[in-house]
Assembly symmetry: C2
Homo-oligomer: 139 residues x 2
């Protein structure tokens, strides 16, 4: 039975669902920072997923990254699964821009998180609703 890790619940907002993954938004307005969490129990490493689920994770990750790159005017997309702190498998898909708060360093641990202001998260939800294909269901 799939349950989201408590730390992921605390540090992010649920935006919606793809067929395999729940889509989260990190509570850090420094960067448009998204996280995909496969809705499978007991999975920590990529290779813990079945081959079909692996292919689906790759598809959801790559499609999301490609969409975000254009629509959020990224200079580079950062895609990573680390899991040293939260062992539940999750994939970061982060829009990076020249001159963002951590550029060119990776985002983790670089600068304190900044809270989203009123309406900003709703604006992101609305943008995604239009951008993502019909396999995406808003929460």
């Amino acid at each position: 039975m799939f349950e989201m890790d408590l730390r992921l619940q605390q540090d992010s907002l649920v935006l919606g669902d793809f067929p395999l993954c729940r889509l989260l938004l990190s509570k850090d307005a420094n960067y448009p920072w998204f996280i995909l969490v496969p809705k499978r129990a007991g999975v920590s490493e990529l290779f813990d997923l079945s081959p079909d689920d692996q292919a689906q994770l790759w598809k959801e990750t790559t499609c999301l990254a490609e969409t975000l790159k254009t629509e959020f005017a990224a200079d580079k997309m950062n895609v990573a699964t680390l899991g040293n702190v939260v062992s539940q498998l999750h994939m970061h898909v982060i829009v990076r821009r020249h001159g963002d708060a951590a550029w060119p360093a990776p985002v983790w641990g670089k600068v304190p998180a900044v809270e989203y202001g009123p309406g900003q998260v709703d604006a992101i939800r609305q943008r995604l609703r239009v951008l993502l294909d019909d396999t995406y269901e808003e929460a």
Copy 2:
């Protein structure tokens, strides 16, 4: 025509080749830190690869991570493509252990690189020769 980025050449050693990717070892003995570079020209983002190449990159990445996890006794594998400094597409596949030099932080920019001692790189080459399947060719 595929050419390796100069920064990647400086910071790593060539170990061998998979069908799609060149396999590098980062010149940092703090962690068994490997890098896969697709042998394609002009590719920066995952989605710049053809669908077939994407599937192959995923396969090479996941197989390498699974093999390293067991054989190098990883507590967690870190898999990431960032590219903020070196824009040529490259995938980090890093063996992480509780108590390693950066644990539990990501490895980038955390502690200075440590040089490999005499024989250490050859030992890694030998281990990989035995571990990896016959799609791998040692350089």
